[in-house]
Amino acid sequence: MSPKTLYDKIWDAHLAHEAEDGTCLLYIDRHLVHEVTSPQAFEGLRMAGRTVRAPDKTIAVPDHNVPTTEGRENPEAMTEDSRIQVAALDTNAKDFGIHYYPVSDIRQGIVHIVGPEQGWTLPGMTVVCGDSHTATHGAFGALAHGIGTSEVEHVLATQTLIQQKSKNMKVEITGKLKPGVTAKDITLAVIGETGTAGGTGYVIEYCGEAIRDLSMEGRMTVCNMAIEGGARAGLIAPDEKTYQYVKGRPHAPKAGHWEQAMEWWKTLYSDEDAHWDKVVTLKGEEIEPVVTWGTSPEDVLPITASVPAPEDFEGGKVDAARRALDYMGLKAGQKLTDIEIDTVFIGSCTNGRIEDLRAAAEILKGKKIKVKRAMIVPGSGLVRAQAEEEGLADIFKEAGFEWRLAGCSMCLAMNPDQLSEGERCAATSNRNFEGRQGYKGRTHLVSPAMAAAAAVTGHLTDVREMT
């Protein structure tokens, strides 16, 4: 048998049909659904008189629109259009009999945090969701990617997706990370290296010592941003850490099935002589805490650097950099650590898990914020409860942070959490696009520790200099 990558193995195990022209139907094990990209899909089913083929494998949770302030159960807390969208998901979940975590449920949260937390996401699965950050679930060695609403409807109706196979890319991070360097810095550094289109047409497998050393939370952060590098999905082969994370979760395999599952999961790795279409290697010890200066996730530099000039780039990127500097209100040559910050946002499917909150709390303990506002939005109700139990919430509140309820919040600013014009934010989210966090808002992407450091000093700060 020819050697295979992890991606090849998962692909082969889910191939339901292959046409003569090579078009494939891939069977989907888990379909995650949220309120923004699903209403038109359910409407399509109704109009065609179709049903959900596998409601047991379909899990819905509202996250994008929901307010993160207390009293959000009150319908008045949402705008009319948001309310209609969330109500549509309530109705669709009920009508089609799919698993559902409503806003009132403590298990509610960002769909990509809830899936793994509840044990829906398991090694070797195919996972899709009408959301580009579905790549997150790849941390478990699951083939997971975002799809559009038409594809959501296709998966609801058929439990399959029409696919063509991507190419294989290996991203290896060798060696150990230095203190102060996190999973977020790895994933941003990789995008800085490959560019936002560098992964187009590929599924990435992240490997190497620095990846193995990461916790499951860290691995989810790395895979989460595979899409920002243009890849269809990011994968990390499962290992003992994966099994331990999964074991005992509500929807993990139970006794009897557990052993059977483990037997298969242990075969899920890339064979030694498997073929890679592209290989990128970064030395872990050379990665520094990074920050974005522009309006694309590829606009990334070590925190010790200065703002670049448009002339530092080539081709279409010259004009893009000029436009980005203008939008961001920055001047070439300005030290990144001199950039003053108005707002700090810690949360999102990239960095809204318990480990992220612990990293922020470590910096914030006994300190006060110097920014105008700062908020922590846990990724789920259960993350929030755990942070409260560990005393982290008190540290945040004493430092001057707002302690919010779970949701996507200011990552994409569909709910009331938005930047105002010109407001500058250090954010742990995943996109620094123009207008992403609010009209004319300015976003610098950083790790949770770096975001906390900026909150304390009032400007972008090298977390390694925090004592």
């Binding site: 038109q40 209609i84 063509q164 289109a197 899409i227 279409g316 996109r431 207008g435 009209y439």
Partner: protein, 202 residues
């Protein structure tokens, strides 16, 4: 039923910026709709209008010669970012049926085909020529022929392009994916039975 795409002759608008993301194509406040229609007026909203809702004069689609554009010639990595299908819905609602670039983000590229929009990848050299054509204002008329896989410019030059045969077939005939997949239900049933025996925990 998806609208067919066979041959299109229309005005091509130049949008040379690289990395145009789906937040730029349709900002998030317009994602709160539960419909697919009506998004064209908000296409490129933050570039197209000022805060008071007035048109920004020098934005390409506000210029008189490009108001009826049906083709976009855009910079590298068009459609990156979010999976929102609202992006192709907004393009379609505005009247754009074809986007030409040197590269597209994966999800956006897929989403186009589901909505009767043809995304075309061309080489950087061909892209420069088409961008030049698109900058000719009212004379920026291109003809895109899907059957023959060609783009013809105003000066008669022809450029060939690649497209996956299955996707081409679906676009040419306006075929509904779900209906076609239902024809393979027996394969899906068989796969499901086999998979649930092998991996009963799923």
């Amino acid at each position: 039923m998806m609208e067919k795409f066979d041959k299109l002759t229309g005005i091509a608008a130049p949008l040379p910026l690289v990395n145009i993301d789906t937040d730029m194509i349709i900002p998030k406040q317009f994602l709160k709709t539960i419909k697919r229609s009506g998004l064209g007026v908000n296409l490129f909203d933050e570039m197209r209008y000022d805060r008071q809702g007035n048109e920004v004069e020098d934005f390409v689609l506000n210029k008189p010669q490009y108001r009826d554009a049906q083709i976009l010639v855009a910079g590298d990595n068009f459609g990156c970012g979010s999976s929102r299908e609202h992006a192709p819905w907004a393009l379609l609602d505005f009247g754009i049926r074809c986007v030409i670039s040197t590269s597209f983000a994966d999800i956006f590229y897929n989403n186009c085909f589901k909505n009767g929009i043809l995304p075309i990848v061309v080489s950087p050299e061909e892209h420069a020529k088409l961008m030049d054509d698109a900058e000719r204002g009212a004379n920026a008329v291109l003809t895109v022929d899907l059957e023959n896989q060609t783009i013809s410019g105003p000066d008669g030059g022809e450029i060939g392009f690649e497209v996956d045969p299955w996707r081409k077939h679906c676009l040419l005939n306006g075929l509904d994916d779900i209906g076609l997949t239902f024809e393979k239900s027996a394969s899906i049933d068989a796969f499901e039975a086999k998979a649930s025996a092998e991996r009963p925990w799923v």
